[in-house]
Amino acid sequence: QVADMGKTLHTYFEAPESGFDPAKYSDHYSGEVNSSIFESLLAYDYLARPQTLVPRLAELPQILDDGKTFIFKIKPGIYFADDAAFKGKKREVTAQDVVYTIQRIVDPNSRGAPWDFMFKGKVIGLDAKIEAAKNKPFDFDKPIEGLKALDRYTFQIKLLRPDYNMPYIMAAPATGIVAREVIEAYGEESEAHPVGTGPYMLKSWQRRNRIVLVANPNYRGHQYKPATGNGIQIDQTVAKQLEGKTFPRIGTIDIRVIETPQASWLSFLNGQLDTHPRLGYNYARLIAPENALTGKYLSLGWRYFREAEADITYYMFNMDDKVVGGYALEKVALRRAIAFSYNQAKELSIIRNNQGLAAQSPLAPQINGYDPNFRNVLGRYSPSRGNALLDMFGYKDCDKDGWRELPGCKPLKITYMTSTGADGRDQEELLLKGFNAIGIKLDIEKMNFSDLLKNRQGGTYQFAGGAWGQDYPDAENFMQLLYGPNAGPVNESRFRNKDFDKLYDQIAAEPPSEARNERLRQMSRIVAAYVPWIYNINRIRTHIAHPWVSGYKPHPDNMPHWYFLDIDAAKQRAGTSK
Amino acid sequence: MTTENLLEIKNLHVSFRLGKSETFEALKGVNYVIPKNSVVALVGESGSGKSVSAMAIMDLLPRANTVIAPESGLVFEGVDLLKQSEKQRRALCGKQISMIFQDPMTSLNPVYKVGDQIVEVLRLHKPLSKAAAKQRAVELLREVGIPDPETRINSYPHEMSGGQQQRVMIAMAIACEPKLLIADEPTTALDVTIQKQIIELLIKLKATHGMSVLFITHDLELVREIADHVVVMHRGVIKEQGASEQVFTAPKDPYTRALLACRPTIDKRPIRLPVVEDFLAGREHELPQGERSRGVLASDPIVLEVRNLKKTFRVKQGLFSHKEVAAVKDVSFKLARGKTLGIVGESGSGKTTLGKTILRLNSCEGGEVIYEGKNLMSLSDKEFMPYKRQMQIVFQNPYASLNPRFTVGDILLEPMRVHGIHDSDKDRAEHAMQLLKRVGLDEKAFNKYPHEFSGGQRQRVSIARCLTMKPEILVCDESVSALDVSVQAQVLNLLQELQDEYGMSYLFISHDLNVVKYISDEVLVMNHGEMVEYANADELYRQPKHAYTQKLLAAIPGRG
């Protein structure tokens, strides 16, 4: 046991968690806790940017068959945390656990298997097994070609197609390795009894209010060695703080669910929280109006981080829709005109308080293939060009009611679908202003979030908002959203373009390279030309920590790496008791 | 000198704001004294300011619109009350000075048991334990003649008859043996036997505790019996005051003289009763001479027949159980067209209940009421609707029965609208004005609210409301008891005229046996819910058969 049980880190979640079974829940906050309790085969280097994979339970894989076969060597001597289910025995992690874990992820009986897309349709023999499990228990024991424990410590995964992203998937919190005995022992209640190999264990859980983790005494201890490689950058300040320490250092992680930005901000201010990830937009602007801490906040010695997230928000058209969809010139013109009417700069500065980047392509920062210099040269705010285009392609105001009609004077009204419960009024106002400026009637329809999802995934909408965050840091994870054959729940805009699809097939099967990057840019140009999406922003998040917290650095995968943190307990006491 | 006077009322001016600039001066400089250990009677026309002067002593006039002129003085045991703080004055109330209010029903708190209300006043002023206070409350109720006081202390005011409520008020007022008892019409709702008992009680208190009583009443016989001094009031000024004997035997003021002359007597039944104005104007000799003959003949057409009527109340006892109180047991009678049936009887004997039940204002447990050949009790609400206009009741508690948010105008127009009497509101208003005048109220009353009237005035409003409909049958429940002799005569004359003109029939409930004798053709005597005697008026008064009737007649003041 290396952790100091006297130290406690206080932090918070801005939304409630669901449960701590990696295969069953897909919400972000459960994932955050899972990533500290469970370990995947691989992990991202804590400080390296861009995101770089490093060994965790296993060494970096051996890649065979041009990216179709991956062999992972699991480090021997890694044990699960103690649990009654192990009947007092130490339980080592083996390759068989990996096979079980992956099968659980696709088992439709684990609450619909929210993560199954990571493996479904990819692994040899797996889909047949899924099919067989419909309304029946999943047969975990039947061996398949795709998933094999070659020996006690060697795991092999075989794919139908090359996929260089498979190692990333093996680093996702969802692939945290679980022990079959535990899962079977707790059955339906598995989410309340997480048992993993990670640095922390669940100590107490008041659902949707407070989660307390304690250091796992069985944990082997971890020392940070920065990854090396081409173009890899390491935050040296933090690296210094980590140097020579064995982690985890902090005995207890106390997480509260605090759902309003002000509450978490005030709790941080008075020292009730040690770290404050994801500051509210207006607070971010308050402490750092020009993107650096100012005034009294500077003098407090806070650690301040402003990081681009690996995500994008966008508006999408349903390309199958009779009015806004289609590839005919006048349809392209209509969408282009709408894109012209959208004021991205205002969205960024006024709605997002400058906490973002104006998105230029379907990609997000912090991922392979993202080009920070690439510009969407067709996307500018220009209602006059929008009006010009509409005039040219026959969208005239036939009945002189102030609104344009479709060519041939059929009525034109575009419906924007959004969900109830969220406050999207600013966005809606901005959209509406744009539409008004080009004389197109916009109808805003609010519905249940589930209904919105259904409409989007089922293609029964015209115009809606979307957002995507990385599952793994590669452009493919984003471009799949516009890939023709994915039209449906993945490609919700149902964009189909032969050139784009061809390029996608290529990039999906090749490792990162400059040539691949150019292909990605070409794909972005095609999207810009046909406008299935109107790009919104890539979010920037501000994170702060008190001076007594060392080793803090937010990571783009958004998983908290509490086990790298340390606290100066004396300073913490002083800071909290003021 | 002052030491002999308990209370001196000096130059008391009281006025009420009516509108923004309009005021009404109810007392215009009133002076009188209440000596220690004496009974002072305040008599005078209804609405002359008797209650107001009593209320002024207690500091109970509505603060919102009352103005007491600064030159007024109220000297109680040498201290000017008007110069005292509200708190000091309140401390006197209940203990040194207490009051019996005119309108017992609205004056009792409807949500507390009567016993608790008596206990409250006892415990406010005396160091009594709860149990002891309760014990005392029972005694007090017994003293004021409430039968079965041990259970009665658990009744709520609305479960008691008018007279019973009045006696509760009296019990409350005498509970702490005050130095001054103000009794505002304390006996109007009491039958003569009980009245006698109460008067004796008061006299006893006067003797044992040296109590003084300010006695407000219309009953001049009663005044003569008990009062040491008499103060005669008229329209806010004092017309005459002096020792009782002197006022009665040698009245100086013409108004007093007129008032005394108007007293109805049990042995005369003039065609028309004289009123004060007749005497004031010297017209008393122009009144039609001769006597009215009363009585019902077998040949008289019957409008209403009541057969074996029964009414039982269920009274809650504890949370889940209840007991039954038979208020009316098996009453039958016939009412002839154009005749009056007087109903008399002990307080609480079921007279009001009988009246209400006939009009279906209560449910009933048995019996029939035949009107126009139909049993009214078996009709549905809808079928009964058209009969409502033909049968009316003047309630015993006029104040409670007047909608507090309605002006008198609204109250009078309402029934005419409901029954479509007259075509326009203008005609209706005219009709209402006429009626007001006939019951002795002036035009201004039209726009006033019930709480702005004196007790007698409210009673006249109630009468006028019923008369708007010219019903065939009218139940008058103690309808003239709060009126001074003159107004009473005026109202009785009016009733008589209507009867002569339209052939109306009356059920006349009253404790005033003189009045009953005067107006009734037949009389029904009730006791404990039972009909004990039913006969032609003259016959009954001449030869009462039942012991109770005999007792009753013997108790008439001025007779014994």
């Binding site: 409630p16 669901s18 449960g19 069953k24 897909s26 009986n109 609450r111 619909g112 929210p114 897309f117 419909k134 989410e191 008041q206 659902r207 949707r208 209010n209 407070r210 605090i258 759902e259 309003t260 002000q262 509450a263 005030l266 709790s267 008075n270 009730q272 109830t420 519905m447 249940n448 589930s450 209904d451 999802l453 259904k454 995934q457 599952d471 449906g488 729940p489 993945v490 | 207690m58 500091d59 109970l60 509200e86 309140r90 006197l92 209940g94 207490s98 209010f101 309108d103 609205t106 009792l108 708190n109 409807p110 949500v111 409250e120 406010l124 709520y156 609305h158 008020m169 409350m172 709480h451």
Partner: protein, 312 residues
Amino acid sequence: MSAYLLRRIWQMIPTLAGVILLVFFLFNVFGGDPAAILAGKIASKEKIEAIRDQLGLNAPIWVQLWIFVKQVFTFDFGNSWSTNEAVSAIILQKAPVSLTVMLQVWLLDAIIAVTLAVAVAYKRGSLTDRAVMGICTAAMSISLLLYVVVGQWLLGYKLEIFPVLGWSDDLWTNVSTYAPLPILLLLFVSVAPSLRLYRSFVVEETSHDYARTARAKGASEHRVMFVHVLRNAAVPIVTNLAMALPGLFVGSFVVEMVFSIPGLGKEIVTAVLRSDFPVIKAITVYLAILTMVVNLLVDLLYKWLDPRVELK
């Protein structure tokens, strides 16, 4: 009386039936499809169907309804669709939390509002009266959210009178440290309307003659107002207080949200937003039963408070 009671209790059955049918209908038509949310990021049609199968949403309507009815009579509403937690556990855990805050609010609100109402009603029409009522109305016009946000900042952070937020397992800690600020802020918005209402009821009674009698007995003004007048004004006051009773268990969404109080208020809103039908069903049914019981008690109370009331 007992017949009346029996009738009222008997009537709970059609009411429950109505509640069941209405909630069932509303949820099925307007409640949204939980499967779409549960399915996660990328949800194919088959997947949603599979989840619907698992949740029993594809069973015939009458079967689902029958399950609901059974649940009502066994008081077992199964597990939450979105968190898989037993619904009974959710309610047992969260309702007491809400109650800890709301019961105090309710009591304090009643005491403060009634006392103040009597005081200003006595001074009716005076400057104090007008001023208090004016301030109350003005205070009422501001939304709870703003009070809570500003209160948390000012009283919690700036003046450090209360903790900014928090909740513990210990009832006493909660009552003494964490609950006071939320309670105070809730009172800000709740007292004003109650006060206005109660003042009106009390004013209505002060001019009755029985108050005059009480004064004539020598009762202090205090006693006249609180013992005599108040009891007569009690029927509507009790009505108003009772109306708020079922809500005590449900808590206040805004306050729970801002102060991180793990109460039922948040739970209901999220349940509806996430289409978590088992939770909705349970809360609705419990609320219905509570409402009915409270209403029955209140009607009985009417009779006790005002003996002239007849229960028909």
